[in-house]
């Protein structure tokens, strides 16, 4: 697979002096064209920071990221992003939200409408074209957010725990829906999650991260056939991978929990 996105020894330190916190340390990985990567790690391991650096919303303290050989400097429409929080523009309707990126790019109205219609059908929101985000459920909002990012036709789609705020049932439906949309476009996707099952079910490759400071601890290929449906979640291959990852994660979660306690002690000494 040709390297689409290259992350080279990227580190991120927040703050400075005695209060400096290393969120990300010497992170390296390569994402191939059309690859679906999931990044899995305990809370506070810097997995969202990686996405923000790739999106160009945060600058790395050292290292660099290249997309198709060009170094990234600042955000751009070639890297779409879906956030965990609801980020639809509340003053725009579903259609206007999906058209947003194309409108910014100055595309003609007819073309925008066509693209929006296509995605509205794809995410099953026919009949909600002129609804405002305030009238939608959480799952519907995230579907529109995904459609909005895809309508802009980015090179890479970055997803920061996009289903993190949804209930378990809705989450399962959304996973299958996203895979369905992906089968059609085969975008390059980086999907951050703390849910092991979600990471294995969605990804071609799962990167497991260490607790703070975050680093890539393991790269695990997921040799499950596509298209996938939820019943592979009980297949032996799936369960084997899940077991392997759970062991890795358990180690890290313990470290994370302990380091939080240590940090607490440290703070008290500072005062």
């Amino acid at each position: 697979m040709a390297a689409k996105l290259l992350v080279e020894s990227v580190s991120k330190v927040f703050g400075d002096g005695g209060r400096a916190v290393t969120a990300l340390e010497n992170t390296d990985f390569t994402v191939g064209e059309s690859e679906f990567i999931t990044i899995l790690g305990p809370s506070g391991c810097g997995k969202s920071t990686i996405l923000k650096i790739i999106a160009g919303l945060t600058e790395p303290s050292s290292g660099r990221v290249t997309l198709d050989g060009r170094a990234i400097s600042g955000p751009g429409r070639d890297r779409g992003m879906v956030f965990q929080t609801y980020t639809l523009f509340p003053w725009l309707t579903v259609t206007e939200n999906i058209e947003f990126g194309l409108e910014v790019a100055g595309r003609p109205k007819a073309e925008r409408r066509e693209v929006a219609d296509h995605y509205i059908a794809k995410i099953g929101l026919r009949g909600f074209e002129s609804a405002y985000p305030g009238q939608l459920s959480g799952g519907m909002k995230q579907r529109v957010a995904i459609a909005r990012a895809l309508a802009n036709d980015p090179q890479v789609l970055l997803m920061d725990e996009p289903f993190g705020a949804l209930d378990a049932q809705t989450r399962t439906v959304m996973q299958e829906l996203l895979l369905g949309v992906w089968e059609e476009s085969h975008k390059t996707i980086l999907f951050v999650t703390h849910d092991v099952e979600e990471a294995v079910f969605m990804g071609d490759t799962v990167y497991v991260m260490t607790a703070r400071p975050g680093r890539i601890k393991a790269r695990i290929a997921v040799p499950l056939p596509r298209p996938r449906s939820y019943d592979i979640k009980v297949s032996d291959v799936f369960l084997g991978i899940k077991k392997e990852i759970l062991a890795l994660i358990r180690e890290e979660s313990w470290k994370a929990a302990n380091s939080l306690e240590l940090m607490g002690d440290g703070d008290e000494k500072d005062v």
Binding site: F83, Y132, G134, A149
Partner: protein, 260 residues
């Protein structure tokens, strides 16, 4: 129960009841002769005074003069305060430059500046407009700044990843997201502008509601004072209703059950 909803007709009834009780208490005090008419005239006396004021003393002119003054001072404050507040809420440099300064002046009572304004601007219209401007501008700007600050960073970042430039983010995200809060701020500060109007007109004026109230006190026409106060209250309610109507018209997406 706390925060529990009540039926609409019960709500309306309670609202009417408060006014009815006021009227009842007032009538009891005055018609029962517990209070001399010089201090508190009876309701019918107020109605008669209102008719006289409108018919013979040109109350309409006073109202128009006052409304023009308030509107001029307030529009001036809004025209400068809204853009400045948006900039302060979005750009840390602007906040650092203006915020401490505005915060400092905000605590100085506008009425204490009246002698200075008279010295600088004379006793004409510009002095009254200056008092109203001074009374509202600083609060308005700081409130707009707070509204703009509350625009979610994720919303702005989303716009960036969809291709919006740093400049474009003002027009495409920050302004539309803070617009409801800005209109609400304008509604609240317009109310304050009325307070300063009376202060401005009590000193060195020859027309307006504040002037009329002041003159009535001089001639012990208590009923006229009360009519003036009630008229200001009614204008206030009318403005509030107007802003609420405007709110619904401008932000249909808010009425439909959601903030974000």
């Amino acid at each position: 129960m706390p925060k529990e909803a009540i039926p609409a007709h019960v709500y309306a009834l309670c609202s009417v009841l408060s006014f009815a009780l006021l009227l009842l208490g007032w009538s009891a005090l005055t018609y029962g002769k517990y209070v001399p008419p010089l201090f508190l005239p009876a309701p019918d006396e107020i109605v008669r005074s209102a008719v006289t004021l409108f018919a013979e003393f040109g109350l309409v002119t006073d109202i128009i003069d006052s409304v023009l003054r308030v509107t001029a001072g307030f529009l001036l404050a809004a025209a400068i305060g809204v853009p400045l507040g948006v900039l302060m809420g979005s750009l840390k440099v602007c906040e650092a430059f203006f915020e401490p300064f505005l915060g400092f002046i905000r605590y100085m009572p506008a009425s204490a500046f009246i002698p200075l304004f008279i010295l600088w601007l004379g006793i004409g219209e510009s002095e009254k407009v200056a008092v109203i401007f001074f009374g509202t501008f600083f609060q308005l700007t700081l409130m707009v700044m707070d509204v703009t600050k509350n625009v979610s960073m994720d919303l702005i970042n989303t716009a960036y990843t969809l291709g919006v430039s740093q400049r474009g983010v003002f027009r495409r995200v920050i302004l539309p997201a803070s617009m409801p809060g800005i209109v609400d701020t304008l509604r609240i500060t317009f109310g304050w502008a009325w307070t300063y109007l009376v202060v401005a007109e009590i000193v060195a004026a020859s027309s307006g509601l504040g002037y009329m109230i002041m003159q009535s006190q001089r001639f012990l026409k208590t009923a006229h004072i009360i009519v003036g106060i009630i008229v200001i209250g009614l204008i206030g309610i009318a403005i509030d209703v107007f802003f609420k109507w405007l709110y619904g018209r401008l932000f249909p997406w808010l009425g439909k059950g959601g903030t974000a």
